[in-house]
Symmetry: C2
Subunit: 202 residues, 2 copies
């Protein structure tokens, strides 16, 4: 691992836990096992290093949707596929969601620079949901609500990890991990049950 890579790795860890303002260049340097001055040699400023980490996290989190869309032929298939893939993605970077929400909340301008990229896939998903709802294949629901419902249930348990672990699992890491492992299937079942029309046609 090169010095630059170990800096980025350390910066990811510290920034995602503490945020831009809470992070200390000293802590990042310690974490990377190098000197503070080297940080400024590789990345001119703290802001600059932060910007790298933030946009990297942001880009990994958001546009994932578009890929899954083309592979699904109907909404139910897409929902299952999306939950699976998005869940795996977040599992690999569990602190990213809370980090992104935190920093955008602190400085809403961060979002402006990165916008535009995700307009298209969102519209496609909206259309898919609307089409099936209009055709009576699923329960009538506004696409925006269904999308947010799914995303909420995936992301929130990661963002609220410390509280959930304390309140529901007496701070037992293992119990929380087991809970997370179940969620992928649970969310899929939950969503499909919610959007399925209850008919007696058998």
């Amino acid at each position: 691992m090169t010095t630059e890579e170990s800096i980025l790795k350390a910066a990811r860890k510290v920034f995602q836990r503490k945020g831009l303002e809470g992070a200390r260049m000293q802590e990042i340097a310690d974490e990377a096992g190098i000197n503070k001055a080297l940080l400024h040699y590789y990345f001119r400023s703290k802001e600059n290093l932060f910007e790298k980490i933030f946009s990297e996290a942001f880009e990994k989190m958001l546009p994932a949707v578009s890929g899954y869309l083309s592979e699904a032929t109907n909404l139910r298939q897409f929902v299952v596929f999306f939950i699976e893939k998005y869940f795996e993605l977040i599992s690999e970077m569990p602190y990213a969601p809370q980090f992104i929400l935190q920093e955008i909340n602190r400085n809403p301008n961060l979002i402006a620079n990165l916008t535009g990229k995700f307009g298209l896939p969102v519209e496609l998903v909206k259309e898919l949901i609307k089409r099936e709802a209009d055709a009576g294949l699923i329960v009538p629901i506004r696409p925006e609500h269904l999308m947010i419902n799914i995303i909420s249930m995936i992301i929130f348990p990661f963002a609220a990890k410390p509280i959930i672990m304390t309140v529901l699992f007496k701070n037992k890491q293992q119990a929380y991990d087991e809970f997370l492992n179940q969620r992928q299937a649970v969310i899929a079942d939950f969503v499909l049950a919610a959007i399925t029309i209850k008919k007696c046609d058998q």
Copy 2:
């Protein structure tokens, strides 16, 4: 409004947006229309002022559950009642959830001081869900998942407001507000549909 009240109001606003580390005492003073030194006269330190704001927000958010529980006779009733009340609560302090998650993420010790209070109501809700699931009145689901599903769908749209407004509503505040207004009913419908057993007994 007394000086102390206007300080607390200003501190709430600034801390909830910027967090402990991101907030500046100068900004709080400006927001309150007073001098920086007065902050230290009323509250000895930044940490001290922050602690007031944080525990106030935390206590308002969490133990709300217990009250609603006694008024409901079955799970479906409780779910509807809980969503309604919790939604109203958060609407009044929309920045609190993200703020709490952020600060606990930065400093997990914050949760230790405040724990213990919510053990009881959570256990009662768990039992209620388990009882109805075992009795076949609702779909089988682990209580923890159902609770987190509901909380997720309520809280996330507030925590992710800037992103949602940009990605789904082209930064139109009005469209986002309308979306939020619908959510209370949408979430209730969604959850009830998901936990209802699909039978053909009519």
